[in-house]
């Protein structure tokens, strides 16, 4: 019995998941604590219970079903994304929610998973090879369709997650180095251009050398290179045409201290919360930044401040270690699963979680601008929690069936 369990039940992923969910519940309780357990916290508890059920179902779902439902679920997601644009609820400027009674659903959270499933199914086909532009373009299309719909909500954070999960999956599926560099080069050039001409020139030279080193056909390399340069140059033009609040967001990202009460406020307060935590933290429910609501809507995107402020470096480091263990475990499962589809799904899901963690914690630590992306397992929000638990469940399912072809 024990050996069977060990063989078919990924005790490590389960342990990490449970630990993270507990940290999340504890943190949301603190962030919404106001002399008593808040309504928000009670809702979150309800979602935890619901997610646990879904999690268990997914863990023990017959493996073949996954591949079987991948395309239907993908198109169902597309349908939901379209529907939410038409009948959805507007919350803080974006139409990304469905209301089901008192519960709200965010289809984009689930579209991430179904897109990974569909992409994995497609890339696992024996006739698909990423050496050919046709297949590469189709793969990009599978990601691009939901991405476009999400950008229309608009939900920049989730859109970034879609792009970011695509690259590792391509890499894992065997795309050439040139392909990967060609995909990342234009955005890097654009980003560098925001910091000025010197940064832009350095980026162009480095990327140019990298492109050259891939020994790709000269004309293809040259075209890629010029696209990259043009994108970078047009950034300045586009920046000038942006609306003032958009420019401000970018400027604030580049220097959050420049406008401490405006757009940089959240990041500054987040840094203050984490920084003031010190080594051991201020104690549970005793973080002044958290308890006195200095960080707006902290229970959603800035939940990482709670362990940071109240449990200090030690608490924050434990959370980081849990996430790192989960990501390494995801890659490990991806490389153990014999089935190509399963392997791609594992890497895709790990990439989603990794992007969320990188963007969210990077933001809380003041390394990235304010991008609305929840921290998996920890942030308040039913859809996000359900999606995170589903991904953990899928990873465990893949592990259990790793030896099947």
């Amino acid at each position: 019995m024990y050996s069977y369990l060990k063989e078919h039940f990924d005790i490590r992923t389960a342990g990490i998941t449970i630990a993270l969910v507990i940290v999340g519940v504890v943190s949301v309780y603190s962030a919404t604590y106001d002399a008593k357990a808040s309504e928000i916290f009670q809702k979150q508890l309800l979602w935890v219970a619901l997610s646990a059920v879904v999690f268990l179902i997914i863990v023990f779902l017959p493996y073949r079903y996954l591949q079987f439902v991948s395309w239907p679920s993908y198109f169902f997601s597309i349908f939901l994304l379209l529907a939410v644009l038409l009948v959805g609820r507007k919350v803080s400027g974006s139409t990304s929610w469905f209301s089901l009674g008192t519960m709200r659903l965010q289809p984009a959270e689930f579209a991430k998973i179904t897109t990974v499933l569909a992409l994995a199914t497609y890339l696992a086909r024996s006739d698909v090879t990423l050496q050919k532009v046709k297949y590469l373009a189709l793969a990009a299309g599978i990601v691009g369709l939901p991405l476009l719909l999400i950008l229309m909500q608009p939900d920049t954070g989730t859109a970034i997650v879609f792009i970011a999960m695509f690259l590792p999956l391509l890499y894992w599926a065997g795309a050439s180095r040139f392909t990967l560099i060609a995909i990342v080069a234009p955005p890097i050039a654009a980003f560098a251009a925001l910091f000025g001409t010197t940064a832009f020139l350095v980026a162009v030279v480095v990327l140019g050398v990298l492109l050259y080193l891939t020994k790709e056909h000269r004309i293809v390399a040259a075209v890629t290179f010029s696209v990259m340069v043009m994108v970078g140059l047009s950034v300045q033009l586009i920046y000038d045409r942006l609306k003032p609040y958009q420019q401000k967001r970018i400027a604030t990202f580049l220097d959050p201290n420049a406008d401490p009460l405006g757009a940089g406020y959240n990041i500054l307060q987040s840094k203050v919360a984490i920084g003031s935590g010190g080594l051991f933290g201020k104690g549970y429910l005793r973080g002044t930044q958290t308890q006195l609501n200095f960080i707006p809507e902290q229970w959603t995107d800035f939940i990482f401040c709670v362990p940071g402020e109240e449990f200090g470096f030690i608490g924050a480091a434990i959370v980081l270690l849990l996430f790192m263990a989960l990501l390494l475990r995801g890659v490990s499962i991806g490389s153990t699963v014999k089935n190509k589809f399963g392997s791609f799904v594992a890497i895709g899901l790990t990439a989603i979680i990794a992007t969320h963690v990188a963007v969210n914690i990077g933001m809380a630590l003041g390394l990235l601008p304010v991008i609305g992306v929840p921290l998996p397992f920890l942030s308040y929000g039913g859809s996000a929690l359900l999606a995170s638990m589903s991904m953990a469940g899928l990873l465990m399912n893949l592990y259990a069936n790793r030896k099947e072809y």
Binding site: S276, G277, G278, L279, G366, L367
Partner: protein
């Protein structure tokens, strides 16, 4: 998968492991930086965020007179405040009608307060009455953010005004905020004039602070650390004055309806016993709210009630200055006391004629002082010369600040050769200018305070004490009274000089033929000198300086009544009665009153009877 794929898989896995490790390495490094290296900086920021320090005004120090009588007291007063971030500006009109203020006034104050902090209360109106308070209470629900604080206001407990000396407190101005950066918050009260201003630091005490925890909207959630770190305000020091408010009240009553000043001091230490400047105003008009109208009235009044004549007015001293010339002539051995002239009633130099009231006939120095013979002193001035005269003027403190510990003062004017050369050119003035200086006219100006100090130095045969008002300060913290020390100096003259001058002054009051007989006090020998200072084209100013008792002087006094005519009739009786009131503790005669009644500034006004306390 094929073997080749397996190898590639391991390679890729290693790359992804590496990327993940790098990401978390970056996070750990950043976490280390924020939480362990910059912990102090961020810790401080988080404290500044969440802890609000609310200043607590200390109780202002009390003021007592030399007899221990409470002179300036505090009484609670309600001040209406607005918390800007809670206040709905649409309510301004309604609030204005409740407080009977202009809406623009509230708008303006609110704006200024908001500029300082949205989270600290802005004081809108001080010292509201009970009716307004109840009206506010009734409408509290309709006026979120409107509240009131209990503050203290000054209350004056005696009948004396001592307007220019006690001074008033007022809300701190923007300019003062800059010079006192950090110690005051807008709306705090600060001493604006008189002793309140001069002893502001001691009287104010130390502002306390109460630390509260606030949320992001600035709302107070509770006390920070249960108030363990609060600093309670420290009450201001109490002042004990050298003044006698019984005498002050009496002196003020004698000066009622006149213009002029009176200074009485204790000759033994220079402590001011009474100091009056008329007209004045009631200080209680300034405690609580001060309306702009009141300010305007006081500031534009032709009689200048805001002006402290006792220390700021420069009057020609007239004959009261004659002792300076007598001293200079004796000390520089220009003449002996027995030097005589024959007074024919006038003295002529060039085309100027100096007249005397009487034809004095043959007079020596003592007689000349006693009868105030102008002819004698005109001639003596020509013999003595400007520089000798000015030297002794300076010795007695003229032409310089006395250093009194209140408000502003005027140094007066004592001309020297240098001054005359500068003003008229070296050839622009002649000996002809001297006789008028000799009788206290011309380019000469003294303040009543200087005159009183001069009388004090004459009384003590040269002990010149810096005049002062505060005898001691008592700290509330240590309960220790700290006696203040003020400098003194000695004017050393030949004993015979003192004897002659003082005898002359004694005779002014005590001997028939003296000009100051109305200053006489039953049973006490008084010495003094009258003065009638010409002030063309207006009527003369009446002067009297003196001291008593002659043998054992205690009190020196200077009185000037503007445009009142003869010093002997208008000023001397006031001085005499003050001396009497001080030395006996009451008035022992009332015959002086008749002569006072006849002197008043405006004939329409009625002169109230002097109030006699105790």
């Amino acid at each position: 998968m094929a073997l080749q794929d397996d190898i590639r898989i391991y390679e890729k896995r290693r790359t992804l492991y590496l990327l993940i490790a790098l990401l978390f390495l970056l996070f750990f490094a950043r976490l280390y930086q924020l939480q362990l290296i910059y912990e102090d900086e961020y810790g401080k920021k988080s404290e500044e965020n969440s802890i609000r320090s609310i200043p607590r005004e200390p109780v202002r120090g009390y003021i007592y007179d030399r007899t221990g009588r409470l002179v300036v007291d505090n009484r609670p007063a309600f001040t209406v405040t607005i918390m800007p971030f809670e206040f709905d500006k649409r309510n301004i009109d309604f609030l204005a009608s409740l407080l009977t203020l202009e809406p623009d006034f509230i708008r303006d104050r609110l704006q200024k307060g908001e500029d300082f902090s949205r989270f600290s209360p802005v004081k809108i109106k001080r010292d509201i009455d009970f009716q307004t308070l109840s009206a506010l209470e009734e409408n509290r629900d309709r006026l979120p953010g409107v509240d009131y604080q209990v503050e203290s206001k000054r209350v004056y407990t005696t009948q004396a005004r001592a307007t220019h000396i006690l001074g008033y407190t007022k809300e701190i101005s923007e300019a003062q905020m800059l010079t006192h950066a950090g110690d005051y918050t807008p709306g705090d009260v600060i001493g604006f004039s008189g002793l309140e201003a001069r002893y502001e630091e001691a009287l104010r005490g130390r502002e306390g602070k109460e630390l509260s925890t606030v949320n992001v909207r600035g709302q107070v959630i509770g006390r920070y650390e249960d108030g363990k770190l609060d600093a309670p305000p420290v009450e201001g020091d109490d002042l004990t004055l050298t003044m006698d408010f019984g005498l002050q009240t009496f002196a003020e009553s004698l000066m009622t309806d006149k213009r002029g000043a009176l200074v009485a001091l204790d000759v033994r230490d220079g402590g001011i016993l009474a100091i009056v400047s008329k007209p004045d105003y009631d200080l209680s008009m300034f405690s609580g709210v001060t309306s702009p109208d009141l300010w305007h009235t006081l500031n534009t009044d032709e009689a200048a009630p805001m002006f402290n004549r006792a220390t700021l007015s420069r009057y020609p001293p007239g004959s009261t200055f004659k002792m300076i010339l007598a001293i200079a002539a004796l000390e520089r051995k220009i003449v002996t006391p027995s030097w005589r002239i024959t007074c024919g009633g006038s003295f002529r130099i060039g085309n100027k004629i100096f007249k005397d009231l009487h034809v004095h006939g043959s007079v020596n120095m003592i007689e000349a002082i006693q009868r105030s013979c102008n002819v004698y002193f005109c001639q003596l001035m020509l013999k003595t010369g400007l520089d000798n005269w000015a030297h002794y003027g300076e010795e007695f403190g003229f032409g310089q600040l006395t250093g009194i510990d209140v408000g502003e003062e005027n140094p007066g004017l004592l001309p020297s050769t240098e001054y005359m050369n500068k003003k008229y050119g070296p050839r622009g003035w002649t000996k002809g200018f001297l006789p008028s200086l000799g009788i206290g006219q011309g380019d000469l100006g003294v303040t009543p305070l200087q005159a009183a100090c001069y009388a004090g130095a004459l009384a003590t045969q040269g002990e010149y004490h810096q005049p002062h008002l505060v005898a001691a300060m008592k700290s509330k913290l240590t309960q220790m009274a700290d006696t203040l020390r003020f400098p003194s100096r000695t004017i050393s003259l030949d004993p015979e000089t003192w004897q002659v001058i003082r005898e002359g002054m004694r005779r002014v009051v005590e001997q028939p033929g003296g000009t100051g007989g109305l200053a006489r006090v039953k049973g006490i020998e008084v010495a003094g000198k009258t003065g009638t200072a010409q002030n063309p084209p207006n009527p003369d100013h009446a002067w009297f300086v003196g001291f008593a008792p002659f043998d054992n002087p205690q009190i020196a006094i200077a009185v000037v009544v503007e445009h009142a005519g003869f010093g002997g009739t208008a000023a001397a009786p006031i001085a005499g009665m003050c001396i009497e009131r001080y030395l006996y503790g009451r008035l022992v005669r009332f015959d002086g009153l008749a002569s006072i009644r006849s002197v008043k500034h405006s004939p329409k006004d009625t002169v109230p009877k002097p109030t006699v306390q105790n």
